[in-house]
């Protein structure tokens, strides 16, 4: 199967952007804060190389199997990234903020059940039974990704938990990509894969590439400085506080004398 020029350009550009993002994650040490996100991006780099190699030198059957195994690992990592962001936002001290876990799990489980029921009820316009199940799986994956993100966001904003700069950056790109994924899957499912399938695919790829560039810039830039009082100033203020507290007591004890 020969690739079109636009497909080659998108593939090459996407690969280069991912490599740059991996380099930024390593060079700026962001992989320590976002290990799962870093693993997900690195996995995509490796997946692209492997699939390209099989496409060039392997056969169609090998490509089929590697593609679908890769898709399953990809989905598992996507969900793990949302859980990683959830952990950072809802467990700022390492343990769950009060009521956060309950709220997140309730929203996430309800959303998952609804997503599963909807995907089961959809009858995609596809030629075979296998394609039907694949499309149902894609619809479920798109909904799961988006609804877990919403569950995490609702739980954190309702509890007044602010997102730090890099989390906000990753979440922004993720949200845009999740929304586009939902509507591309809806179009696939309703019109079938023959209806501008390549264009829809390209839209999703381009949005993901824009998100990748955004993540690269965001993660390259430092987290805004937190202004912490120096230990000297802390001890000065504590001393001043003690002094102010003791002052009136001293005066009243002198008065008693």
């Amino acid at each position: 199967m020969e690739l079109s020029l636009s497909a080659r350009v998108l593939w090459t550009a996407g690969f280069c952007e991912l490599v740059v993002l991996v380099l930024v994650l390593i060079a700026r040490g962001r992989w320590r804060s976002f290990p799962v996100f870093s693993a997900y991006i690195s996995f995509q780099v490796v997946e692209t190389i492997v699939l390209y190699g099989i496409h060039r030198f392997g056969n169609a059957q090998a490509y089929f199997w590697f593609f679908w195994i890769g898709a399953i690992v990809d989905l598992a990592l996507q969900i793990s990234v949302v859980f990683e962001l959830t952990g950072i936002v809802l467990k700022p001290t390492g343990t769950w903020v009060r009521d956060a876990r309950k709220m997140f799990l309730l929203l996430a489980l309800t959303g998952t059940v609804v997503a599963a029921a909807i995907s089961y009820g959809v009858n995609p316009t596809v030629p075979s039974s296998l394609d039907n199940w694949i499309e149902k799986g894609n619809l479920f994956a798109a909904m799961l990704n988006a609804q877990l993100f919403v569950a995490m966001g609702l739980a954190s904003t309702r509890l007044g938990l602010a997102w730090r700069h890099h989390v906000m950056g990753i979440a922004t790109g993720w949200a845009a990509w999740a929304v586009v994924g939902l509507f591309v899957e809806a179009a696939y499912s309703y019109f079938g894969t023959n209806w501008h399938g390549a264009v829809l695919d390209n839209v999703r790829i381009v949005v993901y590439q824009i998100a990748t560039i955004y993540w690269t810039i965001n993660l390259w830039l430092p987290e805004p400085e937190t202004r912490t009082l120096s230990p000297e100033m802390q001890s000065y203020l504590t001393g001043l506080q003690q002094h102010v507290k003791l002052g009136p007591q001293g005066v009243s004890s002198m008065q008693r004398r």
């Binding site: 001290t93 509890l159 007044g160 999740a178 929304v179 504590t238």
Partner: protein, 175 residues
Amino acid sequence: MGILVFIVFSVVLTLGIVIVHWNARRLTGEDWETLVARIQPVPFEGLEKVALDYLQPQGNQLLIEPEELWQLVGGFDGLKRMRQNADSIIQLAAYVRYWNFDESIVVAERIRQDAVMLKRALFRIHIHMLFSMRKLHVPFHVHQAASSYYLMTRRVLALYQTNQFVLYPRLIEVL
């Protein structure tokens, strides 16, 4: 039909993502003055009297009669204002992250726990008043609400006193 439900759910999720994102940005970008401006005045002296009667029991623990208790916290209006202020106080504590991330997160969490107690107590008061039942329980919940709110204000003030002494006087004035 199935695809229509999927599209409706997708639109709901999209709106959810937009709202969540907007709220998260607002939470991160809101300035201190906007947060402080949201604090509604409450009768703090009366509230402190009720709270200390509960938190630091003295000889006669029946000194404040239920009617007086109700007046001291400002009645329904006072309780409503306390509820509205609770979320702003949590955000004010979380705002200290700009100067001391760790302490602000821990103190905000303690305040959040007090806020849960406050909201539960207020919910129970509303239920008892709404159905005119077991009104004897109301003063207990008023005591609980007042002490939770008092602790919240004490915690946030102590946090500002050690981390943001420039804004501290303004916060005392507002709370």
